[in-house]
């Protein structure tokens, strides 16, 4: 057979590299940080997991197990979730410029977090409130979309609905900010909006794992069908896809992923927009490989950026700002170098 396309497309090497990349980066990230922990200590800590009795200092133990490992895991998981969610939305909306918050999830989550901060509900309250309002915003968008659906293209209407709901929620946030106590609440809201993994603990990760699994598993299972949505509803339907149902599943799953991420990390922009493009440049647009590659690349990307954010200066560089600063020029580079890969 002459055509390589019919041979197994996914070389084993590529798969191994993509699986190993985040793992290797995680090991490297474990050795980097403001608090000096020697390689010997890390080796002791890791072997200590299997052989009892290690004479590791208590602080080093805390830094490795309670500070760095949760944070590294969170960066990988959130990077994966945002990238998968962005890739799924880009296909569903047939638009490569769509990001995971197209339906207003970030604005909703921001509003939820703001309310929680104003009412001093604590960090758990902020996470839950952000999550709930993130879902609520998307539900509103979907509701509006269905309300006016009969007058045209549903994806366009959903995008418009998302802009509408997003605007309403961000205006509400601005309104609250304008009357918020400038000394106590305002800085907290501002910092939340900038995104950070600085206060991640294992319990946060345990908390978001269930909704994230609920979001990611169906998307991975349905990833072949996501391809068909990119050809538009009518063509997809003519090829045997129930587009309404598939789109609803994608929206629910992608929203769960984004809302869970945002709820523990605040707003982290650009990852969900840029990473799918990068993944597409590596593996092509077929969701069969695009989703796994987006996960690997997204997880690795956010891990690298967060490691920079926590080590470069004594202060934490707000993660959302760093991802935007790195993401935007990177995006321009991708666009100018792979222009032909999408129109």
């Amino acid at each position: 057979m002459k055509n390589t396309a019919f041979v197994a497309k996914y070389s084993k090497l590529k798969i191994i590299v993509l699986v190993l990349l985040p793992i290797l980066l995680a090991i490297v990230a474990l050795t980097i940080g403001r608090y000096p922990v020697s390689y010997a200590d890390i080796w002791k800590a890791l072997t200590g997991l299997f052989f009892a009795e290690s004479n590791l200092s208590a602080t080093a133990h805390t830094v490795i197990f309670d500070v760095r490992i949760p944070r590294i895991l969170a960066a990988i998981i959130i990077g994966m979730a945002l990238s998968v969610s962005g890739a799924a939305f880009q296909g569903t909306f047939r638009n490569p410029l769509v990001s995971p918050d197209i339906l207003g999830v970030s604005a909703g989550a921001g509003f939820g977090a703001t309310i929680a901060i104003i009412n001093s509900w604590g960090s758990l309250g902020v996470a839950i409130s952000a999550f709930v309002f993130g879902l609520l915003a998307v539900w509103l968008t979907y509701f509006i979309g269905n309300l006016i659906k009969r007058s045209g293209d549903i994806t366009l209407i959903l995008v418009l609905g998302g802009i509408l709901v997003g605007t309403i929620f961000s205006s509400l946030v601005s309104l609250i900010k304008s009357v918020a106590d400038p000394y106590e609440k305002l800085p907290a809201i501002t910092y939340w909006m900038m995104g950070s993994l600085g206060s991640i603990q294992m319990k946060d990760i345990y908390m978001v794992i269930p909704p994230m699994l609920v979001g990611i598993i169906p998307l991975l299972l349905l990833r072949w069908k996501l391809n068909l949505l990119t050809f538009g509803d009518e063509e997809a339907q003519s090829m045997g896809v129930n587009t309404d149902r598939l789109r609803l599943i994608v929206i629910i799953c992608a929203t769960l992923l984004t809302a869970s991420s945002v709820s523990i990390s605040g707003m982290i922009g650009w990852v969900g927009l840029v990473i799918p493009h990068f993944a597409r440049a590596i593996t092509g647009p077929n969701y069969r490989s695009l989703l796994p590659v987006s996960m690997a690349v997204g997880g690795s990307f956010l891990l690298v950026v967060d490691t920079i954010a926590r080590t470069l200066l004594a202060m934490e560089i707000p993660l959302g700002i760093l991802t935007s600063l790195i993401g935007a020029p990177f995006f321009i580079y991708l666009l100018s170098h792979s222009r032909r890969s999408w129109k």
């Binding site: 045997g240 032909r340 890969s341 129109k343």
Partner: protein, 261 residues
């Protein structure tokens, strides 16, 4: 295998039907050309037949069974759709695009199997486009893209092929090559409904023809009965003459010639 359409009507607003009372019958291996001026309702008719638009009255009957309540998957196994040339959003490889036609045969949570690859390959061989397999769908020519869309519909293994202006945007050579493909596919047993703006194309393909005007059937029957000077004048408002041209091998070919005023 047969497709029968009875009294099919579709409207966005109830009192303003886009198509109304369309009935027709297509047998196995038959080609039906649908002619009509812009806005006559050809695309709407096709989409209603395919179940993409919900008819407010009438039935689509495949093999004696009303399919209005069939699932997308069942419908897709019966009818394949070749849309008018579209703007693709993502640079899929051609083989991926053709494979998408297999979706109705693939389990909900699965990806294409070896068998699906084989069927896709056969569909491409059928149209002589195997050489395109690894190319990017966004970077091939309009004619090639049209063939890929047909291959995709073939990979779907339908009994009926619905083609919306398959020759539009193609150069003269590609138009004729495409019509030859269509005739050959009909010869392989596929029923084909296609729309065209060229009476000559309908004449070339033979079989049946339908003329649509303002959403209703003006006339239907064999191409020779339908493609007449009077009917063409009626739907397009121009004077034409149908001439019989004798070609070198002695056969007579009907052709349609516009009359210079």
């Amino acid at each position: 295998m047969s497709l029968e359409i009875r009294n099919l009507s579709f409207a966005y607003k109830k009192d303003q039907p886009i198509i109304e009372g369309i009935s027709m019958k297509v047998e196995r291996g038959e080609i039906v050309s649908v002619l009509g001026p812009n806005g006559a309702g050809k695309t709407t008719l096709f989409k209603t037949i395919l179940g993409l638009y919900k008819a407010y009255q009438g039935q689509v009957i495949v093999n004696g069974k009303d399919v209005s309540n069939s699932s997308r998957r069942e419908l897709a196994k019966q009818m394949g759709y070749v849309p008018q040339n579209h703007a693709p959003s993502f640079p899929y490889s051609v083989v991926d695009v053709v494979l998408m036609g297999r979706t109705a045969h693939i389990n909900n949570y699965a990806s294409p199997s070896e068998l699906d690859y084989r069927v896709a390959k056969e569909a491409m061989e059928n149209l002589n486009i195997l050489y395109l397999a690894d190319k990017r769908y966004t970077e091939i020519s309009g004619g090639e893209r049209q063939l890929v869309l047909i291959a995709r519909a073939l990979a779907q293994e339908p009994k009926i092929l619905v083609m919306d202006e398959p020759t539009s945007n193609l150069d003269y050579g590609n138009q004729i090559r495409l019509l030859n493909h269509i005739k050959r596919l009909a010869g392989q047993g596929l029923s084909i409904i296609m729309s065209t703006h060229h009476p000559d194309h309908a004449l070339f393909c033979g079989g049946k023809a339908i003329m649509l005007k303002d959403g209703q059937i003006l006339c239907s029957g064999s191409v020779d009965e339908v493609i007449t000077e009077d009917n063409l004048k009626n739907i397009y408002g121009i004077d034409v003459e149908i001439a019989n041209a004798q070609i070198k091998n002695g056969k007579l070919h009907k052709i349609c010639i516009p009359v210079v005023a």
